[in-house]
Amino acid sequence: MVSALYLIAAALAAAFLLGLLKEQWRGAAYAVTLAALAFMIWVSAGWLWAFALEGAAPVEIFTAGAEPPFAINLRMGLAEAALTLLINLTGLLSALYLKDALSRLGRRALAVLLIAIMALCGIVLTRDVFNLFVFFELIVIATGGLVLLSDDDHALAAGFKYLIVSQVISVFLLVGIIFAYHATGTLNIDGMAGASLGLKTGGALAFFLMFIAVVAELKPFPANGWALDIYESAHPAFSAIFSAATGAAALYAVDKLLLIGGADWLPVATGIGLVTFVAANILALPQTNDRRLLGYSSIAQTGLVLAVLGQRDILGDATPYIAFGLLASHAVAKAGLYWLSGLVAGRALADWAALRNRPLLLFAFVTFICMLAGLPPFPGFYAKWELARFLAAEGRLALLALILFGALVEAGYLFRWLGYLIKREAPAAETACTPHQATAVFAAVIAGWALGFVWGDLSGRNNLLLVLPLLFALAFLLLEWLPAWTKNTLAIAGMVGWFVLTWTEYDPLRLIFAVIFLIGGAITLLASYAAHGRRIGFYPSAMLMYAGMAMLIRATDSFDFFAAWELLTVGSYFLILRGKHSEPHALSYILFSLGGAFLILAGFALAAQGAPHFDIASLGQLGQPAQPLAPWIFLLLAIGFMTKTAAIGVHIWLPGAHAEAETDVSPMVSGILLKAGLFGLFLLLMTMGRQRLYGIELTHALLWIAALTALLGNLMAIFQEDAKRLLAYSSIGQMGYALFGLALMNHLGWLMALMFVINHYIYKAMLFLSIGGVAKRTGTREMYRMGGLIRMMPLSFIPVLIGIIAVSGVPPLSGFGGRWIFYNAIMTAELRLPLVVIFLAGPIAFLYLFRLIHTIFLGQLKDEFRRVREAPFWIVLPQMIYVVLLLVFAVVPGLALRHVDAYLNRFFPEGGLGWTGPAITSSYGYWNPIAIMIVVGVIFATLLAWLLFVNRRAQKVRQFNIVFAAERPFRPETTHYAWNFFAPYRKAMGFLVQPFVTRFWETLTDLLHTAGDLARRLYDGNGQSYAFHFLAFVVAVFLLRGGV
């Protein structure tokens, strides 16, 4: 191995050599610089290889032929190798990216860049505090120089502000160092740690000064105004270094100092880190400048890693895995984003829409955002999981909660940005991207995925990037050039194939979900044949969602479950985002989903109590430390799952998300995706069952929530003018019913929930397709603008008619089965009041469904739709399949249900159904679906036949052959009663559907925004104020520590 000293020597030698070259030899100077950086990468990569794969021991590098503490020494270990590699790579790529600017400024700028990278390596390598100071000063000066690379005038002022604060910082650092030296007689970090500095006179204070100075390099809140200005105004390639490499090096410096400070200072680090993380994220919310936003995000991420470092007392050996996971995600993503920002002409977030015309760059952006948000399969995801596991095990729950809160806020602005990118108007200007710039960006993309693989490999769990469904989904990224129908065929084949491969593994309950997820998914995909072109982005997203679901039902370990959960969330998010006006709705979807996911994460972490692997099945038999927490765990998981099923209170994302989605996407996200939440609730209740919290039976609370969800979902549905929103609200209500069944905690309740799972899938997919087809043809979703379409689109009408009967639970269709089981189930219910609410909800379903069928298909046909054609074949075909399925399921529900009924005996041996003969019997009543179907069918057919016979010569009247108030209408608009259809109902019950929940969440987000907006006034742009902030920060930490 080449000594790590060459990292420093090579950079310096090259920098000095540059001075010998003539100013004109720009190419040569550039080449020397790149060569030096490449050499440095080679050195650190070599070490990383040796440590990581060959298990080499860390190496101490002595200088001057003397041992520490008498001479400065460096250390090269795994962490150092990794960090220097990160730094050098960032340096090289930024140098590539900066080619033009560097050439303009010449060799001196190249030298400054080289020295900056060298100094960063130095910070990482050195084990001497004063040496650390020297390297820090080098960074300060080099930063002062590199800021000037920017074309932005303001960079100058920013650089000066930075220098001001750095001066103050360096004073503290020096004073701290000298007193630390005085107390311990050494400048060596390990020596100081060994001499327990804190115990010496003045030692603690000296440490405080050193510590606070080095922490200041992490730009802690609120002492970070200067850094933000730099982020905003510097050249993006430099900001990439400043964010990724400088941040990483400074963090490692703090980590080294914490060795000296010992356990006493860990909470301080955590506190500073956490406050920074949360505050910076909130401050980022109102930002509109992309680079400043990234700056806030960088600060936040660094704060998070600092907080993690402060938790090393409980994280122990896992600290590097977690800290590096977070750091690497942050560094790669942030560098990548900064590089990307150089390609975007405008500085407003919405200007990034320019990237939309470049799918590859868009993919890069998405990768980075997902990395930052800690989504699988990136390292941040594994790190977050482990972090939560440890924090929960040690009961540091407030910490965990704050971290998750901060992460959610961060996801908020990141995904809002992503939404802008994909949905906003793209500026006319073409995005210019030189090969150099592209190299840098895509190197980051590759690094991101590679790190994801490595972290998966190290996790000791399933490497997500080796899981077949996910790989299958990702493969569609490579197949994007194929036409949509080919991809569609592949996708369907893949899903059916996976089902065939795995179906034997499932128990009856899972089998039902598997059929809905995979086979059901394949059927909805049939509708996608209607799309033309390549449909870029659709298949990776959709398949990601399905992959998540496929993984979800197979998961036994809590980690696998959670990973699958996140994957399906991300996939569905992108899917929803494809809708024309879905930007805000997709955002609220992902935020609620992530919020829910975080609750699930916390719940699992609490349950595992630090165990590295936690089987979901063992939620039922929690160990001792977790046992008293069981109700809390239950609560967290339940709320988490309920965000997916859109229970009341966390439902506001659903209507927009489902309504604005594309025609073939709505059935997927409504008919299929919602079932993932139910699946989770099934698992939860199966394992944990009843829990009491403060004397409240939690399943009873669920009953109430479910009943209210059913009622309010239905009520809101009847007041919608938008057909797809109506269906979406109806889904909320239906999910309420299913949840109600589950919460009943008896055999039939669960069976009913399952019945709803199946029914809701079939009829909601069917209705969404039908209405989607209509909306596609008419170009509107406002029901009052339609009318009389039965004549134009009879095939689309049939599913709606059948669907109406099924949804409202009228015999003989399958909805009735659900109601019948429901009544039998509530016979043994413990709580009767919520039943009243559910009863009330029942007939309301009828109202909105009638509205759906009447205002769209019946009534008066509008002039502009006289030439509307039937929906495309591929959209009608799956609807017909659903009609058949619905009829079959209505006649022989036992096909699916009797197996599940038997399976449920495991949990509730009592109260099963009897399946002998054609009638289904319970202990209270009986039901003969076949007989009902025959009786109703015969009566119906007889009457119809007679009527047809009698009126066989009847002619169809013309549209306006009606009279009212002694006038004949001639405009369809005036005679189509459709708008505000249930006006009297609104008068009577409207008070129940005031948007209280929406207002609550809006107020909450407004509050956050306002808080961020007010707090950022702190950064008034004056360099002196920033120095004030730093001093105030020092004093505050000092006082909070109780005077050290």
Binding site: S3, L5, Y6, I8, A9, L12, A13, A15, F16, L17, G19, L20, I61, F62, T63, A64, G65, A66, P69, F70, A71, I72, R108, A111, V112, I115, M118, A119, G122, T126, D128, F130, N131, V134, F135, E137, L138, I141, A142, G144, G145, L148, V175, F179, H182, T184, G185, T186, T201, G202, L205, L209, Q1024, F1028, L1031, A1032, V1035, F1038, L1039, G1043
Partner: protein, 230 residues
């Protein structure tokens, strides 16, 4: 006014921290571990009479390398910053006094020589590369003052600076290859304590530092003086 008041309050708090340090401070009666090592071993191991020099050049040589780099950086950046400014043809200025010109011609070489003396003897007497370098630079300064329009050979300064730097690093690496580690001075014979040619590579390194520091200061001064009055 409020700003001053807050500044005052903050500084009182900081002053409190400092006061605590001051009160807690008791001078060492004995040399501590590190200092004792230097006192006992420097002469024997490195052969340098000036222990501070020995520390600066070898034991903490990496710091010094960094320090030189700081100057290098500063000079480069000052050059960068100012090079970006407007380039106007210099206005003719009032001629500098005869006395200054003559005096400069006489003094400048002497000053530079003094500088060289200081850094060459760095391992024996107080002073060394930095001080010597600064003195050399003040010679340059004098020349600048005497003849503001004199075109300084940036090329020469920069070549000296670069060569000195490269050699510095090279010697350091030689230490790594031939002796105990990076910047180990024992690649050359240690010699007798007190001789000019003793202490191994220390005089050599310190001279390079002196040259480099001198060149860097000179280039900084030249850059600043080269800027146009606005």
């Amino acid at each position: 006014m409020i700003k001053r008041f807050i500044a005052f309050l903050l500084l009182i708090a900081i002053g409190g921290i400092f006061a605590t340090l001051l009160i807690g401070y008791t001078p060492d009666a004995e040399l501590n571990l590190t200092a004792r090592y230097y006192a006992e071993r420097t002469a024997a191991d490195l052969g340098s009479a000036n222990i501070v020099t020995a520390i600066v050049v070898t034991y903490r040589g990496l710091d010094t390398l960094g320090e030189v780099t700081v100057l290098f950086l500063s000079a480069a950046i000052v050059g960068l910053v100012l090079a970006g400014g407007r380039q106007r043809t210099p206005r003719p200025r009032a001629p500098v006094g005869e006395l200054l010109t003559t005096g400069t011609r006489l003094l400048a070489p002497l000053i530079m020589l003094l500088g060289v003396y200081v850094f060459v003897n760095g391992h024996l007497t107080p002073g060394g590369g930095f001080q010597g370098g600064a003195i050399v630079a003040s010679g340059v300064l004098l020349l600048l003052l005497a003849d503001p329009l004199r075109h300084f050979s940036h090329g020469l300064i920069s070549a000296i600076e670069s060569l000195a730097g490269v050699f510095y690093v090279a010697i350091g690496l030689l230490g790594l290859l031939l002796a105990g580690g990076f910047l180990d001075n024992r690649i050359l014979p240690i010699g007798t304590l007190g001789d000019l040619f003793s202490a191994g590579a220390i005089p050599l390194i310190y001279s390079l530092i002196g040259l480099k520091v001198g060149a860097e200061f000179a280039s900084m001064l030249a850059s600043l003086s080269g800027t146009e009055e606005l």
